[in-house]
């Protein structure tokens, strides 16, 4: 399973006097089992990119290829693409509508036309994957906490058994514990279920801590596609794009200004701790 964008551009209104490319000549490949972070300031084109990945918008130029097949070619079943590439929107819990959690998660498989027993089986598996406790299956989605509701909504997409999951800021509005919980569950999906994950995030800390590959969008262009450790070496460039490096990077820089000689590519508290201990104790 391989999803590929080849020279993809997208223009909202090709007839407008000032043509603005929301996505400008982007080429990339997403594979199963990979945890990819996608960052960019508001309006950089990352949400449009997410929609291109799942065929919700059609590129103005270029191709979207699923295992080498053009998904916008005549006769290609777009339904297959949307089942295999699941998209979780921002604040997905606003889309919960059924009377109880289990029914809501069954909605996707039901629409695929699966028999009832299979719907329930897939829904339950998805709910287990997001760590939802069984005694909540019969609850109304409105009786759940914010984090639980968010997880129920993600389960709704997982029940379609996608190969690739694209999540648009899945932790926005959650408290720190809720954030960690959702992200570690997503990391587990990636590792244990082999699902490819594209995580759209404004948190450089989360991207640094969880992802193995980082895409940076700016003005519709893909500016970086590399390991987070490499990308975060370019702090000034990231800042000029309205982004930043993880807090730890700035702390380490300050310490080095003040006379320490720590490595300049530390990204997490854990890494910084070890390096500082080494510097102090020797």
């Amino acid at each position: 399973m391989k999803l590929e964008l080849k020279g993809v551009s997208y223009i909202y209104d090709p007839l407008a006097s000032k043509v603005k490319k929301a996505v400008d000549d982007v080429s990339l490949t997403i594979e199963k089992g990979q945890f990819v972070g996608l960052v960019g300031h508001t309006g950089s084109g990352k949400s449009t990119l997410a929609q291109l990945l799942n065929g919700l918008v059609k590129p103005t130029a270029g191709q979207v290829l699923l295992d080498g097949q053009d998904v916008h070619a005549k006769g290609f079943p777009l339904k297959t693409l949307r089942q295999r590439v699941g998209l979780v929107f921002q604040y997905p819990e606003y889309q919960l509508f059924e009377e109880n959690v289990l029914k809501d998660v069954c909605f996707g498989p039901k629409n695929l036309g699966l028999p009832r027993a299979e719907q329930i089986e897939k829904a339950k598996k998805a709910l287990r994957l997001v760590g939802m406790e069984e005694n909540l299956y019969d609850n109304s989605p409105f009786d759940l906490s914010g984090g639980e509701r968010r997880r129920a909504a993600i389960a709704g997409v997982l029940a379609m058994e996608p190969d690739i999951l694209v999540l648009d800021e899945p932790t926005a509005g959650l408290d720190p514990a809720g954030r960690d919980e959702i992200l570690s569950q997503i990391a587990r999906l990636c590792k244990e279920e082999g699902i490819g994950v594209v995580l759209i995030s404004h948190s450089m800390e989360d991207v640094a801590a969880y992802t193995e590959r980082m895409l940076v969008m700016d003005h519709g262009k893909l500016c970086f596609d590399d390991a987070p450790r490499e990308v975060f070496r370019h702090v000034e460039e990231l800042e000029s794009m309205g982004l930043s490096a993880p807090q730890v990077t700035y702390i380490v820089r300050k310490l080095n200004e003040r006379g320490f000689a720590l490595p300049d590519d530390l990204l997490t508290v854990e890494e910084a701790k070890d390096a500082i201990l080494k510097a102090i104790m020797k």
Binding site: H41, L174, D175, A177, L243, V248, I251, K273, I276, I280
Partner: protein, 295 residues
């Protein structure tokens, strides 16, 4: 002087079944006593469901107390006749900038509030100009709000409140949907309003970094305040915060982990410079120690 007085405030959300019988009562706030000083910058932390947003809605007279009372600038929020005055004195900014912008042009959007409370036309344009300037958005006066970034939209929302000449701004996770530069923009704007104009700010957030510059931090849990102090005092209590599902700013976390690993550091380090100072000292001490050992 306290600009907001909260006395024995309890709030219950009631749920009804199909026959309109009470099905469940959820106590979102229980027996909250708080005074917010005029001109202070107060951050409220707490996990999802801890009651922070409910508390803010009381200050804005969007909710009425089940028990107890809330006074804003001396006015009781339970007095319906005063609720418009209270909302003028204490304006609220919500999480999603797209849900609170209504004008087609920035200037129009900012004018909406004062126009609604009957500010005369000639004063209106003056107020809008003043509000946009203070929010740092005057260059966008004639733009369409749709073309603005999230941070800019939130600043337009701030300007909309400033045009009502408020004494207090309430913000319920105003940066949750913004990118890092948008977050910085909004935070800097409200800090400046607090410092220069003396406007009281009540900021609800899940980002610990946003609490570092506050005068006071209040942590909510199970419907009432459980911690209350300066950022330094609050963030020194790392274990307690973790019990309430909170974390600490990144610098504080690093200092805490180093201390656990045996480095002699003070509690409640909040800035990079404080950490650098403390670590330099710790390094000196450990050199002296090993020097002494050798001797």
């Amino acid at each position: 002087m306290a600009i907001i007085e909260i006395q024995k405030l309890t709030h219950e959300y009631k749920e009804y079944d199909e026959e309109n019988r009470e099905r469940e009562v959820v106590r979102a706030l229980s027996d909250v006593n708080l005074n917010i000083e005029e001109g202070s910058f107060v951050v409220i932390l707490g996990h999802n469901g801890s009651g922070k947003s409910t508390l803010a809605k009381h200050v804005n007279a969007l909710l009425m107390p089940t028990e107890g009372a809330v006074y804003v600038c001396g006015k009781n929020t339970a007095e319906e006749a005063d609720s418009w005055k209270i909302r003028k004195d204490a304006g609220m900014i919500f999480q999603n900038p797209d849900n609170q912008i209504i004008g087609n042009v920035v200037e129009e959007d900012v004018a909406f509030g004062p126009e609604n409370v009957g500010v005369p036309q000639d004063e209106l344009s003056e107020r809008v100009a003043m509000a946009l300037e203070k929010a740092g958005m005057e260059a966008f006066r004639m733009e369409s709000p749709n073309r603005l970034s999230g941070g800019q939209k939130q600043r337009v929302a701030v300007a909309g409140i400033l045009a009502l000449k408020p004494k207090c701004i309430l913000m319920d996770e105003p940066t949750a949907m913004l990118d890092p530069s948008g977050r910085r923009e909004v935070l800097n704007t409200v800090h400046e309003l607090n410092r220069k104009e003396g406007i009281t700010v009540l900021l609800i957030t899940h980002y610990m970094e946003e609490a570092v510059r506050a005068d006071r931090v209040i942590v909510m849990d199970e419907g009432h305040p459980v911690m209350d102090g300066t950022p330094k005092e609050i963030f020194a209590r790392v274990d307690e915060l973790k019990e309430y599902h909170m974390t600490v700013p990144c610098v504080t976390e690093l200092a805490y982990e180093l201390k656990k690993a045996g480095v002699a550091l003070p509690d409640g380090i909040l800035t990079k410079d404080e950490l650098a100072d403390a670590l330099l000292k710790a390094r000196e001490d450990s050199k002296e120690q090993s020097g002494a050992d050798k001797a």
